[in-house]
Symmetry: D3
Subunit: 269 residues, 6 copies
Amino acid sequence: MRENNVRNIWKAGGAVVNGWLAIPSSISAEAMAHAGWDSLTIDIQHGLVDYSGAVPMFQAISSTGVTPMVRVPWNEPGIIMKCLDSGSAGIICPMISSREEAAALVGACKYPPIGTRSYAGARNFIYHGPGYSVQGANDTVLAIAMIETEGALANLDEIMTTPGLDGIYVGPADLALALGRPVSGSPTDEVVLKEISRILETARRHNMPAGIHTGGPEFAVKMIKLGYQLVSITSDVALLTLASQQAIAAVREGSGTTAPASGGAKASY
Amino acid sequence: MRENNVRNIWKAGGAVVNGWLAIPSSISAEAMAHAGWDSLTIDIQHGLVDYSGAVPMFQAISSTGVTPMVRVPWNEPGIIMKCLDSGSAGIICPMISSREEAAALVGACKYPPIGTRSYAGARNFIYHGPGYSVQGANDTVLAIAMIETEGALANLDEIMTTPGLDGIYVGPADLALALGRPVSGSPTDEVVLKEISRILETARRHNMPAGIHTGGPEFAVKMIKLGYQLVSITSDVALLTLASQQAIAAVREGSGTTAPASGGAKASY
Amino acid sequence: MRENNVRNIWKAGGAVVNGWLAIPSSISAEAMAHAGWDSLTIDIQHGLVDYSGAVPMFQAISSTGVTPMVRVPWNEPGIIMKCLDSGSAGIICPMISSREEAAALVGACKYPPIGTRSYAGARNFIYHGPGYSVQGANDTVLAIAMIETEGALANLDEIMTTPGLDGIYVGPADLALALGRPVSGSPTDEVVLKEISRILETARRHNMPAGIHTGGPEFAVKMIKLGYQLVSITSDVALLTLASQQAIAAVREGSGTTAPASGGAKASY
Amino acid sequence: MRENNVRNIWKAGGAVVNGWLAIPSSISAEAMAHAGWDSLTIDIQHGLVDYSGAVPMFQAISSTGVTPMVRVPWNEPGIIMKCLDSGSAGIICPMISSREEAAALVGACKYPPIGTRSYAGARNFIYHGPGYSVQGANDTVLAIAMIETEGALANLDEIMTTPGLDGIYVGPADLALALGRPVSGSPTDEVVLKEISRILETARRHNMPAGIHTGGPEFAVKMIKLGYQLVSITSDVALLTLASQQAIAAVREGSGTTAPASGGAKASY
Amino acid sequence: MRENNVRNIWKAGGAVVNGWLAIPSSISAEAMAHAGWDSLTIDIQHGLVDYSGAVPMFQAISSTGVTPMVRVPWNEPGIIMKCLDSGSAGIICPMISSREEAAALVGACKYPPIGTRSYAGARNFIYHGPGYSVQGANDTVLAIAMIETEGALANLDEIMTTPGLDGIYVGPADLALALGRPVSGSPTDEVVLKEISRILETARRHNMPAGIHTGGPEFAVKMIKLGYQLVSITSDVALLTLASQQAIAAVREGSGTTAPASGGAKASY
Amino acid sequence: MRENNVRNIWKAGGAVVNGWLAIPSSISAEAMAHAGWDSLTIDIQHGLVDYSGAVPMFQAISSTGVTPMVRVPWNEPGIIMKCLDSGSAGIICPMISSREEAAALVGACKYPPIGTRSYAGARNFIYHGPGYSVQGANDTVLAIAMIETEGALANLDEIMTTPGLDGIYVGPADLALALGRPVSGSPTDEVVLKEISRILETARRHNMPAGIHTGGPEFAVKMIKLGYQLVSITSDVALLTLASQQAIAAVREGSGTTAPASGGAKASY
């Protein structure tokens, strides 16, 4: 059976460096899979991707040892099971606010007797390879609940002790909104940071690995040092935009070239 | 009629900062169109894109003032005309080696009496807007010949004086191969650099704007200072890969995290 | 921030002329966006479109000032949020039958503190442009509930006073079915018409703009005169079919040509 | 073997009413296939369609008795044979200017001994059904040369007597350009109309069925009365645009509604 | 109105031989539609297909008399109604565990007064043809509940007497998991087989046609002989894999050829 | 650098068992890649695939050790180079009839100084991995000419001694047509078989590996025994159809079930 980098790194006490895929393309996904990430998460929630776009991305990632995961758009069993059948090694589910919702997530991710996932031989068998089975699937697939709502903040212990839940993942932007604070991908707001710490402490108390989304390497390093064991670095589309802006600036500054009055990104008619 | 940034900048004696699209996605294309490039070239030759992939990319770029161009896979009238009908404002054609080939390129890009482009009201009318017509199309659409083969090096004057040709574009990698020198996106080989200078000088003698592909901002700045008036900065997929590698390195170095033994980006070969 | 034509026209007391997109193509969507509609609604419920088909349609519409909206297949937060993240300026939700369902719709469409929409920088920021933010999004995005079920007819006041709801939209066909009357896109049945009037009166009492689907311009004019402030004119596929039938009839009648015995449009059933 | 409406109507001395598909969608293609056309031509030259888009359109048309044809982008054997293998019952090839080019078109369309089409059991066998074979294919598939260039006007007899050529098709816009006259889909220019008559007369002398593209029913009727035996009525995208404009105008005029200052088709930021 | 083979065969007391589509391609779907199946079910649950992939598959099947059905990913009204609007003649819904869930399935499949399906003229009218209407749709469309969970085994009578339910369908793999027995596509486990018999007996008592998924012809024949009236034979992807393995083995054995040490089908894991 | 199974097997004097992909799907391609073939050829000539469909198929195959090749639609440098850039390890080119055409094929497949392939870092570097370069590419990529025309039969020696050509491949159907004999995938015609032998003998004299297309394992075994070193076994779509027909027959015969009068696979023609 395929190694699950996220499980392996977590077992070893390390931190996963996770890439984030919002571009619905198997070409950008394959490039990302060769860039050095430990795992890649296809974002079917806020990314411009849905199931049909994700499938060739799973295939492209599969030619490498990078572990593919999905953030689903909602805690809905249909899409969760479809992603697992297509070869996702883990599900990150947004906006889990209660023990009941966490249990539903686990239910969709695990075969009986742990959950109620429906069984069939689909691409999951091709991806995971020999050894994948009812038990093997339950051992390798990750069910990860996002902590980012008022409800979740009120129910941290109940959520984190849900049987079968494998990890939690913090969404700093929604967390800030839930706290009535300004939104940021790499928050500096004290109220938000305090909650980020409290979530981590609760997770550690329950031996629950915790991950977090970040706006860039600096905040990611800070979070790993705090104890978070999975950091996502913004997204492919943000990395591409930033890299382009830096390259353009370097050329314009180095050569004294300026953008035309007619345009750049401004529509012209 | 839409402004053509490339024509405008060339008229003003400036240099175009051109982005390069190899990912067949309207999402990455749209992100690139908002990043600050003067123009964007969809690479249907070496990019992972063909006509069907390019059309939604043209549409995504059209919501901005960035000028869309195409590098076609070959000097074949069918694909050249299809790209122009879909709203490309220019054609970069690889491996032009003779006056006859340059004339065929111009023929496919321009309506009579200049060329033999076939006429129809397709997406070109939507993109270019009021004022686009037989004459307007011939005035705005760019026919650009790549100079990168032994034949081209032997026929510089004949090619650059082809009636209706609007510019030339150097491909340093194929140029190096044609010269029997090591391949590089940002060449340092003296033989290659000497030819890059000679091509530019010839182009200037014929008042023919010259562009060049580059492996990054540093070489691009050097080329603009030399007199090249259009520089392409590697490609979207290369920028994404590089940005990812830098972000991963920053996180791993900052946090002391290492990649898992089980894999990361290691493929099976 | 982009102007929202629907909000602007409603504020000015006017009526929106809305096009309806059932063909999953960015080419037909772009043609529709240049035809003169005030807004265009991608029909992910009864249209042959789903999310993956809608994204390039959003992009095609974005090169114009036409306001894009979506009719979602169901009151499910995953698809509603995905459409808003992709640049939809409004959501029309079918079969809202109660205050609770209307509140769920608003919840998915608006960020806290009004709703519980999940926050991320996706294509919405590219589409709406500078000024779009938590507050800006809540100010521009429209949450519109369809009134077409028995439940809705029983709960008009409760639905129309739901905080954060921006408009209602009548589906005459389902309304007729709910009333046990014959289905029609441009109803003439007195029972149906009476309810269409009652819905409008209730909406006016609550200062709630009301829209309605129609089978063609004639009924649309009648509805605007009645006081409806948004009319959709059948669909792209219906307009294309009708225009074809009229053109074919004109040719056959003008020239005395008849369809071949071997078939024409006759299918095998 | 499937009936070929075009062949049947031509044999009976009638005129084919041909629809024109420029939208790359199997949904619009299916709607067109049920609208009453005798045949439908997928325009891979000026339409926004390429091979990958055409295949599901062929499939959609196949559930009806409407005869599918293709206009290829160029006289290139690869794309001609691919379209025939996918179930096209005819090829319209643009810009045929000589006997040699016409013979190359026939060569790609017909199996030996008439031509050199490559043989394989692909979708053509599914579409054409029992009886399709080397001989059956040669009997049913149509090779049609467009007459629209200076060269064609000079070589009418040579082209029209090419063995294996089944028909010719006039492109009025390119014809006008070739004659140095103003472009029009439904020409009124006397020089253009005279050539349209001369082409038809030459075709009749060689018992060669002649078709023509038109800008609408009125000109189509005129051409049928002149003796043309196949008329194409503009395109799906033009019909859709026109039908939308008429519907919008009817609503605005009937209700006194005007378009918002903020937009319609004008970009707004 | 189109004939519904499943209804017809059930009325005549026969057994339906149903093909299963997991490959998201209109080409494989069309090949399957010409292979001799009575009906074809597109598996949107465990297949690699979603709605956008299913639509051209529906179109491809429509050129034959084979009846198209869908297995939806979950009992969610949005996807059920979208599939019916696109021309599915039946819905197989997984994991129905109670009368309430069965009633929700029927509700989504049938128009009022039987259910609450939303009405619109979409591709369903093109597929079903003249006679399709509110009543016609309710008469032809099949609502089929899968029996495969603990809940279902406890509520067989309640489920099978749900008004408007047209059939039930057994999933042997999930059934085995629900019973705590080893999973098999063609089960030999006595506990599983006993339940398969009990389900059939219950169905017969309620005059409810029963179908079952099978791992191959042998078990399918056994089930038909037992009284099941619809058997699905594994899936397209499984048939393709098996046929390839048999052909390869025949070649290798016949010719003494062995696979290369360097790899063949060995993946990297 | 990736192992090239075809080169390795040929070096070892063995015979390649090659699968053939005509379905444009990465899902069927991945299933085929796990079925045991030594190599897989994507058929862009007669298959229902073009470049945009082939790219995700290349990616799916890349997760295994199976060697991917392409049959291009025509001897056109644009498509040949695009396929090689996308990760094809070999090109099979149809209808090579002369030394000049064979040299053009080699030219498009090999970098200078052997050929004139254009150089860029695209997916080829990801697929082939470390060691791939100008020299490495020329060492691993295969240029294979099809022998199937009158011209080829007249020019066997000239074609097979073309510098840089790596193999030849016989197309029995076109070969039969060229000889004026009945077409068959597994020919029994003596004239055809004699030419198949003569081609092989000529190839052996020039140490040129020879492959052949076959209609099934039996003829493939015969050809391997004759000395052919690569056999393709019909196609994925033919294997799927045959496997379905056999399964259906087994069920119908075993259970006494017959197809419905209303249709089954009967199309409308």
